[in-house]
Symmetry: C2
Subunit: 323 residues, 2 copies
Amino acid sequence: MEPGTARIAVDLLGGDHAPAVVVDGALRACQADPSLHLLLVGPLEVAGKILAALDPADRARVNTRVVTGKDEPGGRSHDPGTVQAAVLAVVEGHADALVSAGSTGATVRAAALGFGRWPGIRRPALAAVLPTAAGRLVLLDVGASVDPGPSTLIGHTLLGAAYAAAVHTLDAPRVGLLSIGTEPGKGDRVRRAAAPLLAGLQLPADAHYIGLVEGHDVVLGEQADVVVTDGFSGNVLLKGLEAAYGLAGGRLPIDAPPRAAALLGVAGTVVVCHGAATAGDLASGIALAAHLHRRAAVAVSAGLISLGRTTDSGISDHEVSHE
Amino acid sequence: MEPGTARIAVDLLGGDHAPAVVVDGALRACQADPSLHLLLVGPLEVAGKILAALDPADRARVNTRVVTGKDEPGGRSHDPGTVQAAVLAVVEGHADALVSAGSTGATVRAAALGFGRWPGIRRPALAAVLPTAAGRLVLLDVGASVDPGPSTLIGHTLLGAAYAAAVHTLDAPRVGLLSIGTEPGKGDRVRRAAAPLLAGLQLPADAHYIGLVEGHDVVLGEQADVVVTDGFSGNVLLKGLEAAYGLAGGRLPIDAPPRAAALLGVAGTVVVCHGAATAGDLASGIALAAHLHRRAAVAVSAGLISLGRTTDSGISDHEVSHE
């Protein structure tokens, strides 16, 4: 394998518009990045369409793992078994990372089961990177954790801080907790319980907790580099912003957020695309997975958290008592 | 009093930038609407600034209720007592409606206490009206209820449906429950508990529950006329969208949402402005309060709900068992 090579397993049956958009997305990604290798996971006839459309010279970069869907393809609620097969391919060393636009819940479960979790992290989180007027911002969670307790928000804080340091190479990232006001005590029960714990927490990579932030801070990016929230409000906000940026049709001074999120907290590189992902979204997701693999994002992030944890005081207590 | 006259009590000390922006906002509102009368509630010297800046012919439309702030003006966390005095002025018949940019919690409490609630509604909700590509959309709650139970979301559904019918004169408004996927069962605990109850609920004004909607539906407006959510996610989404529309600077095909929300569920007309409201936001809030009064929005909405309730089956049971 040449240096810089990234071997990405692609779930051919994941997503509302699979397999058509996955086929197109995989082709685009392959053509855009000559060091990209794909492992197509799904029915032979779908993989065949991609191979047939590729330049013969590029076909050597594409392998197939045949999985006949257990169910009809395309639905987010269906579980065609392709995402488990993609996880297995990474575990077995046949791919470096995986991408799926299938059910978020199914992907998170398969990844947590197949890869295991990072030391000290109980709940994985989906992290979206949003372009802002002031630079990139990591928003997490955007859909993996609903009804989190304070300890899950603390876990998200560690994950987001480590990701910003490892992938965005930010020194001392600023981490905010999303709420509905910035004065201490603002927010719902879980925010009010988590905020004082976060204030006392030692974060990886010299990150620091800056307190409560609001919805507009996620857009403007002036206050925080990482914004932590539950998967419900994070998902609602992300989808709302995507639609607003979509309406703007490129007339905004910032780019639209990519419709692909990195799964943090599992010991493997996983990118989850929007269920309604387009071919362009899939290609972005595959490129993100390759980027994360090349940066060794999982190993570096998990390492930063383990390093920080040696001087950490008392998060385990909170995890037991508050969840 | 001439027909069309609206007498609006304005909290001079509410908001992060009070009293300066309130003074400017009141002046703008007064100049824009010749049938508007203002009752300025706050310190004499602040009211004096407004009177001094007005054309002498307009001064007859402005009265003052002197309240010396209990505290320093300006902070959202402070409670200068002006909002209670404004509620009292409406209760006593000296004004038709009130506007405050002060603490949302303090305004909701003062209004619920002073006016009482609509029959059958336990928790008031703040409703924001968002312009969408497909028309106006009512989003509620945007900050009055955090940690709601299923019965509070049911109450919001009744309030939103009645408001859309009464104020937007919509026949059979379509009401959606905000979630993170549209398939039945998607969402967190409270959404999963509320959705089946909503499906069986008889709504006022021939409104119908269309099921789960997502963040982008609030922007696009194609699926629903009313979107119901908890005050945390609603506030986060609204503030995020406001900032995105602000970045677009008028380059979007739709207007920015007004930074003023109607308080529904209390037996008086109340408009709450953003704590960081500008003079323009305050003027919009005053205009919204006048509009709601002229439409008799509170009486009509509450009446629609009472009417619907005579054939309603079982909401009280859910309120007792789920909250």
